[in-house]
């Protein structure tokens, strides 16, 4: 006798409930009760909470909680083919970009790659001390034979950050222009930022093969794109209203206003967003190594799997070193953008 039989009978739902009752699978509680040979389970607690499982005992046509999770899975699997049909071609360029960038970073000899990276550093930061620091880090990686994995990680971070900025800035602009867009997108950003990263790896694994590099590319971008969107939106909304009014008073078109006034004035904030995006994609690289992303993350994973303490620690500290390096370079670039307009 289940706890809520009375309620079902009073509501006159008994007939509806009993249709096809024999086919309903047994719940764990029923199995336990059968194994125990008595009704002790139902009696001991008094009135149980009317959860799906408990109601199911009274009425076979109310689903169990495991039906909910199974339903989500079945639903996803049933649209999987269509999703794959749409998403596969769209995301294919991501695989190509990741593979080719990885190929360039791996196959270019160190005596070309290192000077090229140092030149790039100097070009964005215009700072000798930052360039010197980057040189020291790269030489250190080479010295401890981690140069190649570090380059793989760097390649992935470059591609994913670049795409995040390319997609995130326009989304941020759209959000800043429309309050409705902002209200819709902010919850999605919250979701992306707080959802445990493994959770969106699961549907991705269903959709794409684990050997495809776009799998980890998408995972990293979804996670890392959030700050650049948020800070582009914020930066544009924070642009001095007086300056915007002046732009209107002189008859600037919407595009002129965006390109000449809003984006340049929001640039410090956008750059801060890019800095955060770099940091977050680096953090995600380790988790992405679970789904075949190469780089330092693989070594960290090996350290965990095989309990190789030293390997794990060296690779982990390597990631820290990369993070500090990327952070200093992007901060120096941000500082360079800031000067010239804030010299009082």
């Amino acid at each position: 006798m289940a706890a809520y039989d009375g309620v079902i009978d009073t509501l006159g739902l008994r007939d509806w409930c009993d249709v096809g009752k024999e086919d309903a699978p047994l719940s764990m509680a029923q199995l336990l009760a059968q194994a125990g040979g008595d009704d002790a389970a139902a009696d001991e607690g008094g009135l149980p909470f009317p959860s799906l499982d408990v109601l199911h005992e009274a009425c076979g046509r109310i689903g169990q909680t495991r039906d909910l999770t199974a339903g989500i899975e079945e639903g996803f699997l049933s649209i999987r083919a269509e999703l794959k049909f749409v998403l596969d071609p769209i995301t294919q360029p991501l695989s190509w970009m990741l593979d080719s960038t990885l190929w360039v970073f791996e196959s270019a000899p160190w005596w070309i790659m290192m000077p090229a990276l140092l030149l790039l550093t100097y070009w964005v930061s215009r700072s000798k001390s930052v360039t010197g620091f980057v040189a020291a880090v790269l030489l250190f990686f080479g010295f401890i034979d981690h140069y190649e994995v570090a380059m793989q990680t760097l390649a992935i971070v470059f591609v994913c950050t670049g795409l995040s900025v390319l997609l995130g800035v326009p989304i941020g602009i759209g959000m800043s222009k429309s309050d409705t867009a902002q209200r819709t997108i902010v919850p999605i950003l919250d979701l992306l930022q707080t959802l445990p990263t493994f959770v969106y790896l699961i549907p991705l694994i269903f959709l794409f093969s684990v050997t495809e590099s776009k799998l980890y590319g998408i995972a990293i971008i979804l996670y890392a794109i959030v700050p650049v969107i948020r800070l582009t939106d914020l930066g544009i909304r924070l642009v001095d209203r007086d300056v915007i009014e002046a732009a209107n008073a002189f008859g600037l078109t919407a595009w002129q206003k965006l390109s000449r006034v809003e984006l340049p004035l929001a640039l410090p904030n956008i750059m801060a967003g890019v800095n955060q995006t770099i940091m977050m994609s680096l953090a995600m690289v380790v988790i992405a190594s679970l789904v075949s992303a190469p780089g330092l993350g693989v070594l960290v994973l090996r350290g965990i799997r095989n309990l190789e303490l030293g390997v794990g620690i060296v690779a982990g500290l390597g990631i820290v070193l990369l993070a500090v390096m990327l952070d200093r370079v992007s901060k120096a670039a941000l500082a360079r953008v800031d000067t010239g307009r804030k010299e009082h």
């Binding site: 300056v243 009014e245 002046a246 008073a249 008859g251 340049p264 307009r341 010299e343």
Partner: protein, 346 residues
Amino acid sequence: MTAKVSLRGLYKIFGPNHISMVPHVKEGMDKATLLDQHKHVLGLQDINVDMQPGEITVIMGLSGSGKSTLIRHLNRLIDPSAGEILVDGQDVMKLGQGALRSLRQKQMSMVFQKFALLPHKTVLENAQLPLSVQGADKATCDAEGRKWLARVGLEGFEDRFPSQLSGGMQQRVGIARALTANTDIMLMDEAFSALDPLIRTDMQNLLLELQKELHKTIVFITHDLDEALKLADHLVILKDGAVVQQGEPQGILLRPADPYIEDFVSDINRARVLRVRSVMSDHDGRDCDGDVQAGATLEEVIALSDGDTNHVYRVRDGEAVIGQLHMVDLVRALVPRVASGRTQSN
């Protein structure tokens, strides 16, 4: 003379259903009742002002009187709830997006209280903004920008950034920017209010000097009566969103329409503001103690008379004799209540 800019029955009410509130205000509902019963804020009511070409129209009022709201209606940075805004006879309310943008680019330029320069652009790039927006080629932009920067006294500062300049110099850039646009109408929203007094005087003189040459139609907003009297050809006094009195400034000073304006004008140095022209009487051919120009301030006449109230002066405009000034009338004109009382009894 037809007006360059005319405002006809302009109303502005702030709130979600502002247009449906206009009838209430037209029926005489006041600001407090409107806020209380309908949660709408009355910004402007029944504004009728004509601004003549080549004149400086000063709109004066205390904070909250609606003067900044009013000036933003002229180029439709704010849309009215009711009424017409005519520029060269054309109703600005009927313009589409493109025509409105062209009006803002080619007919009206604006100078702002907080300068509103682009902080990431150089002084020259700021000054040439109106032209570069219109797609002029770089050489024209450069030449015009440099010309007007030099005209406002900023030669040699072209490659600085605004933040490297003092407030007064930044506002000179603001004025140069408005002049580069080469528009007939210039809107100046408390343009000198953020500057310290000495710089402000400099800038007022600069504006008057430029105006002598350029004859633009200038609409100038201020809360400072001295500034208003110095600059105005036509003075409009706003209170709680309505025009209390408008006209030639000397006339307002001598014949304030209500106690509010009387209070307002009681604090200023009348000897320095009033001119001989405003207090003289007709010449009756008597012997005089000397000649004064009609445009001279009373202060100058007092200095000339050395304080002797028995003197009578011939008033000349250039060479022609246009009247006479008795020192007794002059002294009376210096006391607000006596001056207005006398003119009322006349």
